[in-house]
C-alpha cells in the first residue's frame, strides 16, 4: 500500500500535526517503510494461533474499590500552562 498526499493529510489531521512542507516527503517515506514492515508480518504463519489482544498471557490486575488519592489540585494545576479557580484553562473550544 502506498501513502499518498491525501492519506498523509488525513493522518496529520487525526494526529493534530501541522507539518512543514519540507517534512512531508521524509514522513511519507517513513510511513511507507512502516507499512512495508507490517506487510511483512502478514507472511508469518499464524495458522495455529488464536487472535490475541495482548502479547503476554497474563491476567488483568484488579484493585479493591477504595479511594487511595486525595486532593492534588494545586500540584496538578501547577503543571499546566494556564489555570484559574482550580481549573485547567485551554483555548476556547465550543461546539
Amino acid at each position: 500500500m502506498a501513502i499518498n498526499d491525501d492519506d498523509l493529510d488525513k493522518l496529520c489531521f487525526l494526529a493534530r500535526l501541522a507539518l512543514n512542507e519540507g517534512d512531508r516527503a521524509p514522513l511519507k517515506s517513513d510511513l511507507q517503510r512502516m507499512l512495508g514492515f507490517v506487510d511483512s508480518l502478514r507472511d508469518a504463519d499464524v495458522g495455529d494461533c488464536a487472535p490475541m489482544a495482548h502479547p503476554h498471557d497474563s491476567d488483568l490486575r484488579r484493585r479493591v474499590d477504595a479511594v487511595s488519592s486525595g486532593d492534588q489540585c494545586d500540584q496538578l494545576t501547577a503543571l499546566a500552562p494556564a489555570a484559574s479557580a482550580g481549573m485547567f484553562l485551554v483555548p476556547k473550544v465550543i461546539e
Partner: protein, 482 residues
C-alpha cells in the same frame, strides 16, 4: 400531516451511559463523589501524566457482571479494553478506555411496560465498560475554556439497544425500566440531574413496511425522561419532513435545546468518527471464571419484573399496585417486610401505598428514613387483619406510632383505644341507646333498615370507635327479634 406521518416508521436505538456506583474511579484510586471542588478528585492517572498506568476497579467489573446477569445477557469470559482515540480537552490521554470488539456483556433483554400496561421487551446489543470524560466549562473564563477532571475516569456501563424501538413513548418506557433496574441492582444512583444516567438516541425513519434502515441522527446527552421524549419526537418529525420533501437526512450528532424544544446540529460524523480503536497495551484482557460469575449471580436480588409478576399472580395485587410496589427497591423491600408481618398482602399494599406513602410525602422523607419501621407497621396491620381493631382506630394508632417508638399494642394502650370486648357493657349501652331514641327504634322495627346504621353509628361514637361493629349489629338484630 397525519397521513404522511403514517407512511413512515421511526426506528430508534438508545445508548445509555450508566455511571457505576463505586467509591473510586475505573482505573485510578481517586474519589468519584459528585459535587467536589474542581480537580480535587483528579489524580495523576486521571489527568494522564506520562508514565502512569491504569489499574482496573474490581467493583466496577462486578457491577457490570450483575447487570449482564440481570438482563440475561452473555458474560464474556474474555473481554478487552480498547483505546478510542479522539482529541478534546476533557479527554487528557487523547483516548478513552472503552470496550469495543469484545464487551463484557453481549445481548440481553430489558422488560418494560408501556403506560397502557402492555409489555415491551427491548433487545440489547451489548453493555460495555468504559471511563467517563472530564467536564468543560465554556462560559466562566474570558477567551478560555476551563476543564475539571473530577469526572474523568468515573466508571460507566454503556448499555446499547438494537434499533428496535419505534416511538418516543416506547423509548421512554424502556429508559424508565432500565433506570429502575440499575437502581434496583444498586449499581447506579440513577440521578439524572447529576448525569449518573445519560441517554443518547439514534433516530431514523423509513417507509412503513421497509426493512432497510434510514440515515440516522444521534441526539446526545439528554438528561430527563421528558426531554428524551420531546427530543426524539422532534427528530422523528424532522426526518419525516425531510423525507417528504425528497431530501436525505444527514448522519450527524445533534443537541437538544430544551428552551426551544428543538435539536440542532453539533458536528458532522463523516470525518470526526474515526476512532482508530485498538487494544490498550497497558491492560491485558479481562478474564472471568465461571466461579466469579456465579459469585455475582448469588448476589442478584429478585428483579423488579419478577416481583411485579409475583405480586400480580401470587399475591393478587392490582396491576397498578404491583407496578408501584416493584419500581423502587427500598419501598418494595419495605412492603415485603410489612406484608410478611401483617399476614395480609393486599391490606399491606393498601397501607404502604396509602397512609405510609402519604406520611412519607408530607414529611418529605425517603423510605429509608421512615420513623416507622416495617415490623411495627406490620404489627399494626396484623391487628387490623385479625379485626382486633378497626380501620378508623388503625389510622389513629398509625399516627401515634409515626410520632413515637411504640409498638402497635403500646400505642393502642397509651391512647386507650383497646377494643371493648365486654359484651355485657356493650349490651347495656345498646339498651340505653334504644331507650334514648324511641322514634328511630320504632321506625327500625317497622322495617326501615337504614336506621340500623344510625344505631351502630351512635354506639361507635359512644365508644370512640372501640366497639366491634359486627358485634353491635348482632345485638341490635337480637333485640329486633331477627
Amino acid at each position: 400531516m397525519s397521513a404522511a406521518v403514517d407512511a413512515w416508521e421511526a426506528v430508534i436505538g438508545l445508548e445509555v451511559h450508566v455511571q457505576l456506583r463505586t467509591a473510586s474511579k475505573m482505573f485510578s484510586g481517586a474519589a468519584t463523589a459528585y459535587g467536589a471542588e474542581a480537580n480535587c478528585q483528579a489524580n495523576v492517572v486521571d489527568v494522564a501524566l506520562p508514565g502512569v498506568l491504569p489499574v482496573v476497579n474490581a467493583e466496577a467489573i462486578n457491577k457490570a457482571i450483575r447487570f449482564g446477569l440481570a438482563v440475561g445477557g452473555d458474560i464474556s469470559a474474555d473481554s478487552v479494553f480498547d483505546r478510542k482515540n479522539y482529541f478534546y480537552p476533557d479527554l487528557p490521554k487523547g483516548y478513552q478506555l472503552s470496550q469495543f470488539a469484545q464487551p463484557i456483556v453481549a445481548g440481553g433483554l430489558v422488560h418494560a411496560r408501556r403506560a397502557d400496561g402492555s409489555l415491551l421487551q427491548v433487545q440489547l446489543t451489548r453493555a460495555h465498560l468504559e471511563e467517563d470524560a472530564g467536564k468543560s466549562i465554556h462560559d466562566a473564563f474570558a477567551g478560555a475554556t476551563g476543564v475539571d477532571y473530577n469526572r474523568a475516569g468515573t466508571p460507566l456501563l454503556e448499555v446499547v439497544t438494537e434499533p428496535v424501538l419505534h416511538s418516543a413513548a416506547d423509548a421512554v418506557a424502556y429508559l424508565k425500566a432500565l433506570h429502575t433496574l440499575v437502581r434496583w441492582l444498586g449499581i447506579c444512583d440513577g440521578n439524572m440531574q447529576e448525569g449518573s444516567f445519560r441517554c443518547d438516541a439514534n433516530v431514523s425513519v423509513r417507509p412503513r413496511g421497509s426493512d432497510q434502515l434510514g440515515v440516522r441522527s444521534e441526539v446526545k446527552n439528554v438528561n430527563s425522561f421528558r426531554f428524551v421524549e420531546k427530543a426524539i419526537s422532534y427528530e422523528i418529525e424532522r426526518h419525516i419532513r425531510l423525507c417528504e420533501r425528497g431530501e436525505q437526512p444527514v448522519q450527524e450528532t445533534r443537541l437538544y435545546d430544551a428552551a426551544r424544544d428543538q435539536t440542532r446540529s453539533m458536528r458532522s460524523k463523516e470525518y470526526a468518527e474515526d476512532y482508530r480503536y485498538f487494544p490498550d497495551p497497558d491492560l491485558p484482557p479481562l478474564r472471568l471464571s465461571e466461579a466469579e460469575i456465579a459469585a455475582q449471580r448469588e448476589q442478584l436480588p429478585e428483579l423488579p419484573q419478577q416481583r411485579y409478576r409475583r405480586y400480580l399472580e401470587e399475591l393478587g395485587l392490582s396491576d397498578y399496585d404491583a407496578d408501584l410496589l416493584s419500581t423502587e427497591r427500598a419501598l418494595s423491600d419495605y412492603y415485603e417486610q410489612v406484608a410478611a408481618a401483617a399476614g395480609d398482602a393486599k391490606l399491606a399494599a393498601n397501607w404502604v401505598l396509602g397512609e405510609f406513602s402519604a406520611a412519607l410525602n408530607s414529611a418529605q422523607l425517603n423510605v429509608e428514613d421512615s420513623p416507622l419501621d416495617s415490623a411495627r407497621l406490620g404489627g399494626l396491620l396484623a391487628k387490623l387483619a385479625s379485626k382486633e381493631i378497626n380501620g378508623k382506630i388503625a389510622k389513629k394508632v398509625f399516627e401515634a406510632m409515626w410520632r413515637s417508638a411504640d409498638s402497635a399494642a403500646e400505642a393502642i394502650d397509651r391512647l386507650g383505644l383497646k377494643k371493648i370486648d365486654d359484651s355485657a357493657a356493650l349490651a347495656a349501652m345498646v339498651d340505653q341507646l334504644i331507650a334514648q331514641h324511641p322514634e328511630q327504634w320504632a321506625q327500625l322495627q317497622q322495617g326501615q333498615d337504614k336506621l340500623l346504621q344510625f344505631f351502630i353509628g351512635q354506639a361507635m361514637r359512644a365508644t370512640r370507635g372501640q366497639a366491634d361493629a359486627g358485634v353491635l349489629q348482632g345485638m341490635i338484630r337480637d333485640r329486633l327479634g331477627q
